[in-house]
């Protein structure tokens, strides 16, 4: 049964210091699907997402309880190696954050970290081209692979941030409002890209954009005040929400 799910969170509670941000979160994210996560600001979407690759642990004073199984392994187990967790679970951040090195080196960054054998120059070229092709960025940047990635437009930066995850071949992609820094055209392009990728990866995407959740996801999770309120196929949630709170939020009553 568990193999149907890429992420299975059981009774997850999370604290920033004494402030509890997640309450008994139980979630099962289907493998190979796009699942979107919606909810008002501060309801704990990012907190949950950042718990799945344990990047939350950068912050002092956090505490987490429960279990999060990713590919049948509890990533909160003490014997889990963070480097491996992050190899299998890629993350795209709200604000595009390419590293201040060249476009090419950005793509190769994860690859060089995780692959023990050195790839030849030709292999590296192939990896770079393939990754950039996959995010539809190759044609724009192929002549300036050695330029700094931080000089790209925001849309290009965000695509690059997705592209640099691909050579590592993660199984899960976590995306925290990946389009919120982009203009409508960029948003559309990145959404399309996510849709392209969704058969290969399990994608969990946080969004404030209701239309985006509706367009781009197969399942939808609604969170409120650190709790999961509803988790259903997207169409169902938007047409026949089960809870009053969900309906209110979808109609824009929480702002």
């Amino acid at each position: 049964m568990s193999s149907d799910f890429a992420i299975a969170a059981t009774n997850v509670n999370f604290w920033y210091g004494s402030f509890q941000a997640l309450f008994d979160v139980n979630l099962k994210i289907r493998r190979g699907k796009v699942t979107s996560m919606i909810g008002p600001s501060g309801c704990g979407k990012s907190t949950f997402l950042r718990s799945v690759n344990r990047i939350n642990e950068r912050i002092d004073n956090i505490r987490i309880q429960g279990s999060i199984h990713v590919l049948d392994k509890n990533i909160l187990d003490p014997d889990v190696e963070l480097v491996q967790v992050r190899k299998h679970i890629g993350m795209v951040f709200q604000r595009p954050n390419p590293l201040p090195i060249s476009i090419r080196e950005n793509i190769l960054f994860g690859y060089k970290i995780h692959m023990s054998t050195r790839a030849s120059k030709r292999q590296q070229d192939d990896i770079v081209e393939q990754a950039l092709q996959q995010v539809l960025l190759w044609d724009q940047v192929k002549d300036r692979l050695h330029h700094k990635a931080t000089g790209l437009s925001l849309e290009e930066q965000q695509k690059l941030c997705i592209a640099r995850l691909l050579p590592i071949k993660p199984s899960v992609l976590l995306m925290d409002e990946p389009c919120s820094a982009l203009d409508p055209k960029g948003t559309e392009a990145v959404e399309e890209l996510i849709w392209e990728l969704h058969n290969t990866f399990t994608i969990l995407i946080v969004t404030h954009n209701m239309a985006q959740a509706r367009r781009a996801s197969e399942e939808c999770i609604f969170m409120l005040m650190g709790k999961v309120m509803e988790h259903t196929p997207t169409q169902e949630m938007f047409v026949t929400p089960k809870k009053q709170e969900t309906a209110d939020y979808i109609e824009g009553k929480y702002g």
Binding site: I55, N97, I113
Partner: protein
């Protein structure tokens, strides 16, 4: 009637305006006086040194001769080559000591320590930076000197090695603190991005943070070099103060700065010797100015990008 009154008042200058003007002028004055002072000092040094620069002694002799014998009554020599060699050798050794220490310390503080450890280390570094140079000179004289004599079995312990170590230790704290600033200026989201891709701390430091901070680090090193060139008291005490082009680190040398400090008091104002010391002053001024300016420009370049 009342409403009109209110309007008339609200357009008038009130007390705050005058205070603001007063403070503005005060701050301007403070700022400008610093600049005026520096220009004034520069002019004074130049004026005192000019007579010598355009006097009887040729510049090729000054920069080409290794004999500094200004008090020889028949034929005084004003060659500063040996003094330059003294300053350069001591500063060079100091940098060899200080660069690994300070960069290592900065990396540790900025990237590997956290919480109270970090705060304590920073306080400690500030404390080290505040040790007066005469104290460092004293350490060179009374601790390093016998130590070097014992360890290496050499007749004198006041030499390039001693002064280089002392100067390196002196320059390290300030270099550490500037280098740490440069590392801290690297936005945290780069670290987060790299960590989310599975990079370890070392990988983050070496592949992301150091390349991003390299200009700032270079600036820190240059400021250390500038400090080395300008430092006087400690090198006066620890070099042995004998005019010499060093053949090894165990040779005593004399630094440009130390020469000025030691001899200026004994010279007659306006004499050739006096002018020569000021000419050295100009030389040092120009060198440190160029070093500090380039360090500043490099560091500033970091902040802008």
């Amino acid at each position: 009637m009342d409403a009109v009154e209110v309007h008339r008042h609200s357009f008038q200058r009130n007390r705050d305006w005058y205070i603001d003007q007063f403070v503005q002028h005060l701050v301007f004055l403070a700022g400008i006086s610093a600049i005026v002072l520096i220009i004034g000092i520069f002019f004074f040094i130049t004026k005192e040194g000019m007579a010598f620069l355009f006097g009887d002694v040729s510049m090729s002799e000054v920069f080409g001769s290794m004999f500094w014998e200004p008090s020889d009554e028949d034929a005084p020599d004003y060659g500063i080559l040996a003094l330059i060699a003294g300053t350069a050798s001591v500063s060079g050794l100091a940098m060899i000591v200080a660069i690994p220490f300070s960069l290592g310390a900065a990396i540790f503080i900025a990237e590997f320590s956290s919480g109270t450890t970090r705060e304590w280390l920073k306080v400690l570094i500030e404390l080290l930076a505040a040790i007066p140079s005469v104290v460092w000179g004293f350490i060179g004289l009374s601790i390093l000197n016998p130590l070097i004599i014992d360890l290496f079995d050499v007749p004198v312990g006041l030499n390039v090695l001693n002064a280089g170590l002392i100067l390196g230790l002196m320059a390290a704290p300030i270099m550490t603190s500037i280098a740490e600033d440069a590392l801290k200026a690297v936005p945290d989201r780069y670290r987060e991005a790299a960590e989310a891709m599975g990079a370890t701390r070392w990988q983050i430091t070496f592949r992301v943070v150091l390349p991003a901070a390299k200009n700032g680090l270079l600036g820190a090193v240059l400021l250390g070099v500038g400090r080395g060139f300008g430092e006087t008291m400690a090198v006066l005490m620890a070099t042995g103060h004998s005019v010499n082009i060093p053949g090894s680190v165990f040779d005593s040398v004399r630094a440009l700065t130390a020469t000025i400090a030691a001899e200026l008091g004994e010279t007659a104002r306006g004499s050739e010797h006096y002018g020569a010391l000021f000419a050295i002053g100009i030389f040092l001024f120009v060198i440190t100015f160029v070093i500090n300016l380039s360090a500043d420009l490099i560091v500033r370049g970091v902040k802008e990008s």
